[in-house]
Symmetry: C2
Subunit: 406 residues, 2 copies
């Protein structure tokens, strides 16, 4: 079994970097805090003498050699970046549990046949730079390095400039590092496991996601002198957009809709805003239903534009992550490993996107969930217990032993 | 007459400081840009050798001595700070036209009986720090210096720290500088004068204003895994708040309502926001009607809170500027001066707040408007023609000659 106390101590040490007053962490991707978190992790890897490489999008690969290093490795990974004022476990648990697997193999002097790698993917969160799951997407050839390098944050800084700043641009060509099979442990980020008293979720698949940027353009003017009828104020239309987005998200119980970013510009108390920018996140476990939600959303916006001639509505879809299915055999290994340890296990669907989504389309992959309190994530109060964290890491260990020992 | 070419040249020179790509100016109060604008103005004053003093809230007083310096001065003033991406004329015209009056008296070797002062008031705009008309409010004893010093901007910087930084805290005690009568020229910031082809507005009074800060508090969580029914999402309630604010502002044609600042926190595309902060600006020319709007707004929010138990709605009124009336005799002098120069003049009500509102409650005061293109203000495209700018300054000159020469 993995060292539960060591895993918890490291989770808490990592959480100190970018610690927030409310008990969370703030390490947006490719910032100084994110880099400090990576260095803390690499320090622990260096104590064991593992070989470390990185690629040009900042993905980090840590290797524990196997008996037969000509076979493609089993990679276990996740991410160290967080949301703004995010939680201490989202991503971090997956990386530090992978380190536990490697160290537990060391501690027990177990030689695997194939090498076992840890992967730390860049920008899983997609908060500072869109889309999410960026590093794994580039590794898998879903996004080009050039495209993601030119992506800007809201201050106009590019992914490329940040990769250069931290020296990642000197790394391997993305994708050069081969992976044979992929495993990821993550907190569920939803309430299903907790509600049913289950400890391990065997993730059968992930729901489809679409992201949009929407802007409502009017003409800014003074809040006092101009009669209401003469204004080109985008604010009343925003109320209609909000209603539309939630109507689309309430069409059936499995659907989700969220407006996450919302800003009125220029943002002054006595200026009627000339422009409102917002983002929309639509999800559904069925690809066809998400397509219908997208169509209803776009039709609703067209109707609104026809009714509101004084403002200009513009919509851009910036990301589509299709429905994904995980490998049957590897997921069955997850179920058996949980059962072998007497841990209650259940099949679930992932509501969040994960790096494992990209990997699952390339190589046999499995995703393992553990519960988090109140289903809360992307929140400073995000919490998973030391027992659940250890249970997830032990399932990773057992699956790794099944897969990596010839 | 004033020197129209000099006035225009200086307006354009001032606009260079904090110039924005869209042709406006960005000089938020008590920033380096604001201070640079003040120094440019003071340089012009120094060429004439006028005496300059300032007070502890950063108001600047420039004196052209009169024959009888024991009488209280006629002060002519406005402000040099702007909105974010604001216009080139809002406030600036009033200050530079006042300088034209003093210099034209010099150029024509006219000795007035009473001294004639220029006043530059601090933070008229109220965008970076609330409330607006701050410097004139402190001068008139409406706000205490302690209260305004502790006011914070959205980065947590205080008015007090900024006043210390620029050395204003070494100045006179606010209010120590006596003013006998007050005159202000401003662009209308609305469409009335342009629509009627009038050049001069004789402002009879100003409408009442109320400002509020409102927050909708839920609990932030991930946009994907949590079922809609289990969320505490403030966004749908925002749609109801917007509808309410606009319903209140559309009760009669004279009413105004504006949501100027609107931010979802933490502001990440895949985080359901835990909190939405917004500001509300309500106005009406009749004090009793604004009181009714306030009551309808608060009752509507109470109903919304009763219906939306999962979120917490909090409202704070942060400013109330009552209806104001200007001095009959001085305003009549404005009408006669305009007529004397053959300029079409009409009585108007001010939709915007002005430093003259505070002064009007303390000493005889008048406010003069000139048209601005399309009624547009608090916008980079704000524009008033050289002819209209000069017409307004000439009216100031004529009123000053009537008032200040015994
Ligand atoms: N796990 C996670 O929070 N991923 C970010 C991508 C998403 O929005 O689902
Ligand atoms: N003139 C002007 O824009 N004043 C700011 C105060 C207000 O919001 O009316």
């Amino acid at each position: 079994s993995i060292n539960s106390e060591r895993l918890w101590r490291r989770l808490m040490a990592m959480a100190e970097i970018g610690a927030t007053p409310g008990g969370g962490s703030h390490r947006l991707t490719l910032t100084d805090e994110d880099e400090a978190g990576r260095q803390l992790f690499l320090g622990w890897c260096a104590e064991r003498g593992y070989d470390v490489q990185y690629d040009q999008v900042g993905n980090i690969f840590v290797r524990r050699a196997g008996g037969n290093n000509n076979t493609q490795p089993l990679a276990i990974g996740s991410h160290l970046d967080t949301q703004p004022r995010g939680g201490r476990f989202d991503g971090i648990l997956g990386v530090l549990a992978a380190l536990e697997v490697l160290e537990t193999l060391d501690d027990n002097e177990i030689e695997t046949d194939m090498p076992v790698d840890i992967v730390v993917w860049t920008n899983e969160e997609g908060s500072r730079f869109q889309p999410a799951m960026m590093g794994s997407g580039v590794h898998c050839g879903v996004h080009s390095l050039e495209m993601v390098r030119s992506t800007l944050d809201d201050k106009g800084l590019s992914v490329g400039a940040e990769l250069d700043r931290f020296g990642y641009s000197q790394g391997l060509v993305p994708g050069a590092r081969a992976i044979g099979q992929y495993l990821e442990l993550h907190i569920e980020q939803g309430p299903v496991l907790e509600d049913s008293g289950t400890v391990i979720g065997a993730v059968k698949g992930g729901q489809a996601i679409r992201w949009y940027e929407l802007s409502l353009q009017g003409q800014e003017t003074h809040a006092g002198p101009v009669p209401m009828a003469q204004r080109r104020d985008p604010m009343p239309a925003l109320a209609r957009v909000i209603d539309l987005v939630y109507q689309v998200g309430l069409q059936d119980e499995a659907a989700r809709s969220t407006i996450g970013v919302l800003t009125a510009r220029p943002g002054s108390i006595n200026v009627m805003p000339g422009r409102i920018d917002l983002t929309v996140d639509l999800r559904h476990p069925l690809e066809t239903r998400l397509k219908e939600m997208d169509a209803a959303f776009q039709a609703g916006l067209d109707d609104l534009q026809a009714a509101e001639r004084k403002i200009a509505i513009s919509l851009e879809e910036i990301w589509h992550s299709p429905v994904v299915l995980f490998d049957h055999a590897l997921t069955e290994a997850v179920r058996q490993s949980a059962t072998g340890r007497g841990l209650p296990v259940q099949d679930v669907i992932s509501g969040a996107g994960h790096d494992a989504f990209h990997m699952a389309r390339a190589v046999p992959s499995a995703l393992v969930f553990v519960p988090c309190r109140d289903g809360l994530s992307h929140n400073e109060a995000e919490y998973t217990s030391p027992e659940h964290a250890a249970a997830g890491a032990n399932v990773l260990l057992d699956v790794a032993l099944r897969v990596a020992c010839a």
